[in-house]
């Protein structure tokens, strides 16, 4: 089937809605120029083609921006690159999770791991946290439906993480 209509479907009102996000992100020191926004939309097209997906309405980028704009690991210097990578990862895992998960659930999961487990490392988010979560969902895991994607990774994590309280106790004992 001719795919042109799919391109038309996903090119509606994108630029203006992306520029509008500046109103919400400026207080975190983040802003997009029109050139940035165009670059993000261009990369979005590639990502959607790559993942054979079609987007409608405002798309996911404004949601990604609002979800991640208060991150400790995103500043004006890496803002555009981070948004581009996050949208690539998002579409990839919508497919990997066979559309079982909603946008909000996936975004909440991504943000939580990005902050608390990956400490801003997108490769770790993509290759480990989301890979494990995706595998669980494909195997029928549905616990995220009640939690909106929050607090899920602890149940699935294969690595023993730092026990921060124990760490602080030990640190206190040293001094």
């Amino acid at each position: 089937m001719d795919k042109n209509w799919m391109v038309l479907l996903q090119e509606q009102n994108q630029l203006s809605s992306l520029m509008e996000t500046n109103q919400g992100t400026e207080r975190f020191g983040l802003a997009l120029t029109e050139e940035d926004a165009r670059l993000i939309l261009k990369e979005r097209r590639h990502a959607l083609q790559e993942q054979k997906r079609v987007e409608f309405g405002e798309g996911i980028v404004p949601k990604i921006i609002y979800e991640f704009c208060d991150s400790d690991f995103i500043d004006q210097n890496n803002y555009v690159d981070m948004v581009i990578r996050l949208q690539e990862i998002f579409y990839l895992y919508k497919n990997e999770m066979q559309d079982e998960i909603t946008d909000d659930e996936l975004l909440h999961f991504m943000k939580e791991q990005f902050e608390q487990v990956c400490f801003g490392d997108l490769d770790y988010l993509e290759g480990t946290c989301l890979a494990i979560f995706g595998q669980a969902i494909r195997a029928g895991y549905g616990g995220y439906k009640g939690s909106d994607g929050c607090g899920e990774y602890g149940r699935l994590d294969e690595v023993k993480r730092w026990d921060y309280e124990l760490y602080l106790d030990a640190l206190g004992n040293l001094w």
Binding site: L48, E55, F56, G57, Y91, T102, D103
Partner: protein, 275 residues
């Protein structure tokens, strides 16, 4: 048999439908309708879908627009819903078509329920399987909102009317209508005669795969296979038989005459080869 995949509409099919229904629109006119349907499909919880799903939804929109244009059984085309090709009127046409598809599902189910108690399959496994096993699955699984173009079943029992041009609920409805006509005809014949003809046919060849009426009509034609004007003779016989239980016999007569003409062609070819 239950189909495993969706029945997809090709561009050629779409152009053919456009021609038949005199509808002309660009694909971009349909984009807002598909977008809304996609949002509904994801329950407004996802902003993207796969290509495959997008194609399915586009076909659902096209199906409903054409459903609206073709109208309901027994009604004239409802083209009045489509005064021009603006986005608004296409949206209205889509909604009207979707409502018609839903209505047709109800009609098909009512017809199915009407036929089922008295259904006589005469040992035809395909007809029996479709009515006893597959149609209940169809009515349970048919997705009139997001995949109305998919009829799910392969309909292995061959009816006498060519229904290959229909899709979705239209095809299922036409199939059930054909079986209704056949049952009417067969029930009107002498009780022992049909059982004798079809019983003998089934036991000779194992599972009967042919159309029930075609077998009965072939037998009737063999009995009068003398002299000229066989088609005319058959028509007179059919009209005579059909009139006994169906005053408006034109549809059933024409349905059966399709088979008569086909059988005649085969018989003539056969005789030509023998001589």
């Amino acid at each position: 048999m239950i189909k495993s995949g969706d029945g997809k509409m090709t561009m050629a099919d779409r152009e053919d439908m456009n021609h038949k229904t005199n509808l002309h629109y660009e694909m971009e006119d349909l984009i807002p309708i598909v977008g809304k349907l996609a949002e509904k499909y994801t329950s407004y919880e996802s902003t993207s879908i796969t290509y495959e799903k997008a194609e399915q939804l586009m076909e659902a929109v096209l199906y409903c627009i054409h459903e609206n244009a073709l109208g309901q059984p027994g009604q004239e085309s409802a083209m009045a819903v489509l005064p021009d090709n603006t986005g608004a009127s296409l949206q209205q046409a889509y909604e009207a078509g979707a409502a018609r598809a839903r209505e047709k599902v109800k009609q098909a189910l009512a017809l199915y329920n009407e036929i089922l108690p008295g259904l006589a399959c005469y040992g035809n496994r395909f007809l029996q399987d479709i009515f006893m096993k597959e149609l209940p699955v169809f009515f349970g699984r048919y997705d009139v909102d997001f995949a109305p173009q998919n009829e799910i079943l392969t309909l292995d029992y061959p009816v006498l009317k060519d229904i290959s041009g229909y899709r979705g609920i239209d095809k299922i409805y036409e199939f059930i209508r054909c079986v209704e006509l056949e049952q009417k005809f067969l029930c009107g014949l002498p009780e022992g005669y049909v059982a004798d003809v079809l019983g003998g046919y089934g036991s000779a060849g194992g599972d009967m795969t042919d159309n029930l009426c075609e077998v009965v009509l072939t037998d009737m034609m063999e009995r009068i296979w003398q002299g000229e004007n066989i088609e005319e003779k058959m028509k007179n016989i059919i009209v005579h038989l059909v009139k006994k239980y169906d005053e408006d016999c034109a549809e059933l007569t024409e349905y059966l005459m399709e088979a008569v003409r086909e059988i005649l062609v085969w018989q003539r070819l056969l005789r030509k080869n023998i001589h």
